[in-house]
């Protein structure tokens, strides 16, 4: 099925390609593809979680097959409502566990070994440059930070991919975003991506690939890049990516043992649009409820009262995020009217935070430290908001009712602003807390 161009797209006449075009061409057995082409591509990894996999399993069973296409290329992570929040979620988790056992799924991550999927897969070396990865979770786009083509799909797409190891894609036009630094203190990947979404809007990159580049990206750590690619979907993007460089190879070292081939955009590849942002004077950014594109410099939201702070999620629950938050809150205390929740994204991050003394810092500051879970980010459990409450969170969405009651609010920011604001009880710039 894969050596086939299902339908034509407009030819750009260029012999050059972007990274995503090259990956999709290679994985669909073609020399070159153009934006708009529909292709069937081979899948290197297909992912599901405890919310989306149950629907996929139900659909998978309709195929009447007795195996998945490759038990080593299917990943199942119960992370959203786990540790099971109620009987219904326990039943869903059980369904995945049984499926993993029956079909000998190699990468099934049980509670105790699991983490939030998009922090876990890169950490475990399951994501490699040049690969095609689909996940029944919209934030699958995170893996673009490692130079893969990774995109979110639904449960039925996952079911079909588990059977045939392929999926159809429309080759996206690519938008390039160049960030000119250096990055100011307190400004990181979260601020860059929020700023970008604020500039182009929640459908500004709809159906597009987003290529993140420029001097500020070269200097950005892998954790920061993962945060950026993670939120490409909040601009409507099909994927977001950074081309592999030394930061990428250093990250992969010791994690990935199988061979891979890094893919790069050609020097004069055709981009639909190129944005250049001078971020050398950027303030930390905040996305005000109820849309991720309602983005403002932190000074414009200063003084807003908050009742809860969440530091975690597939966006900002990595070790660097925890280090930054801990550095802000060390020897300080969470404001008496604020509840602060810290959720390390994986067991490995949890352990590292423990060894580095970060968890002690949080507990001494009277924050709660939780086992890895998506939990409150999607209003699942572990920190639901009451009517009229407002949370400041390092998560990715601030839609109506996202973290609880439909009349509660979520503001989005990076870990430094979140930790500083937890101390102040109102939204503040980290400099107001850390002298």
């Amino acid at each position: 099925m894969n050596k086939e161009n299902i339908a034509g797209g407009g030819s750009t006449g260029s012999t050059k390609s972007t990274m995503v075009e090259k990956i999709l061409a290679a994985k669909s057995g073609q020399k070159k593809v153009e934006p708009g082409n529909l292709v069937n591509a081979k899948i290197d990894l297909a992912l599901g979680n405890d919310i989306t996999a149950p629907v996929a399993i139900k659909e998978f069973e309709r195929f009447g097959v007795d195996k998945v296409f490759d038990p080593e290329k299917v990943v199942l992570v119960p992370d959203h409502f786990t540790p099971n929040k109620d009987i219904a979620s326990a039943e869903q988790a059980l369904l995945i566990r049984s499926f993993a056992e029956k079909y000998k799924i190699k990468h099934y991550f049980e509670v105790g070994r699991m983490g939030i999927e998009h922090a876990l897969l890169p950490e475990q070396g399951l994501v490699r440059p040049g690969e095609v990865i689909i996940g029944a979770d919209s934030h699958t786009c995170t893996y673009g930070a490692l130079g893969a083509f990774a995109t979110g799909v639904g449960s039925t797409d996952l079911a079909a991919a588990m059977v045939i190891g392929e999926a159809w894609f429309k080759v996206p036009p690519t938008m390039r975003f160049e960030y000119i630094g250096p990055l100011p203190r307190w400004v990181g990947g979260k601020d860059l991506i929020l700023y970008t979404i604020g500039r182009i809007g929640v459908s500004g990159a709809r159906y597009r690939a987003m290529e993140f580049a420029g001097p500020a990206i070269s200097e950005l750590s892998m954790d920061g890049r993962l945060t950026m690619a993670n939120m490409a979907v909040e601009a409507g993007g099909k994927c977001g990516y950074v081309q592999p460089d030394q930061v990428t190879f250093d990250y992969l070292k010791g994690r990935v043992t199988v061979p891979y081939e890094a893919v790069y955009s050609d020097q004069d590849a055709v981009y639909e649009r190129v944005f250049s942002f001078d971020v050398s004077a950027l303030e930390p950014q905040i996305a005000i409820s109820p849309s991720p594109d309602n983005v403002h410099p932190v000074s414009e939201a200063r003084g807003t009262e908050i009742q809860q702070v969440v530091i975690g999620s597939c966006t900002n629950g990595r070790i660097e995020d925890l280090r930054l938050a801990a550095s802000v809150i060390k020897n300080r205390r969470v404001h008496p009217q604020v509840r602060m929740l810290v959720i390390p994204a994986t067991q490995q991050i949890y352990r590292q935070a423990l060894e580095e003394g970060l968890l002690t810092t949080f507990i001494d500051a009277e924050a709660v430290v939780s086992t890895p879970t998506c939990g409150p980010c999607l209003g699942g459990h572990m920190g639901i908001l009451a009517r009229g409450e407002r949370a400041l969170a390092t998560t990715n969405r601030n839609f109506i009712g996202r973290m609880g009651h439909p009349e509660s609010e979520v503001y989005l920011c990076g870990p430094a602003v979140a930790a500083a604001s937890a101390v102040a009880g109102i939204i503040v710039h980290p400099e107001e807390v850390v002298q």
Binding site: T52, S89, T156, A160, S203, Y207, F399, I400
Partner: protein, 167 residues
């Protein structure tokens, strides 16, 4: 296929958390999901919407999470079709994959009285007719392979047929 039904109007950027909130995602039963359709942005909606009704959205309908529960909830409520100026890409895939008819009308439908005006949707022609005003809107055509997925009632049947042909 031709549908006629009451139109329910929604705005731009209707996200999948609004369509079905995460607190209801511990079920995959479309009827159960339908009981909470659009609850957080229009609490009375599950009690108003009826079989054959048509959802009309603005730009970027279905943005946000990949939850297939969103089109499942819409289907579970008996809604025949969703028409929007544009769809978020995962929602678009999901709707096609589960056999929920959707139409993209970039010019946008105007002058609709939500909950009273009737629309007629002709899937083959890709047209939407506002029955009170007589206005006809032309939707973007589906590529042939997507028409085949819809015609077979979803991705599972489509892929099964393809596997069958290959053997």
């Amino acid at each position: 296929m031709i549908f006629e039904g009451k139109a329910w109007l929604f705005g731009d950027n209707i996200d999948t958390d609004a369509i079905i909130a995460a607190r209801y995602l511990s079920t995959i039963d479309p009827r159960e999901l339908a009981e909470h359709l659009m609850e957080d942005i229009k609490p009375e909606f599950p009690g108003l919407v009826g079989p054959g009704d048509i959802l009309v959205g603005g730009e970027n309908f279905g943005c946000g999470s990949s939850r297939e529960h969103a089109p499942l909830a819409i289907k579970g409520a008996g809604i025949s079709c969703v028409v929007a100026r544009s769809f978020a890409r995962i929602f678009y895939r999901n709707a096609i994959n589960i056999g929920l008819p959707i139409l993209e009308c970039p010019e946008g439908l105007t002058g609709i009285e939500s909950g009273s005006d009737q629309l007629r949707v002709d899937l083959e022609q890709g047209t939407v007719t506002h029955l009170r005003t007589g206005d006809i809107y032309q939707a973007e055509p589906f590529p042939p392979f997507m028409q085949e997925i819809i015609g077979r009632g979803g991705l599972v049947e489509y892929v099964k047929a393809r596997i069958g042909q290959a053997q």
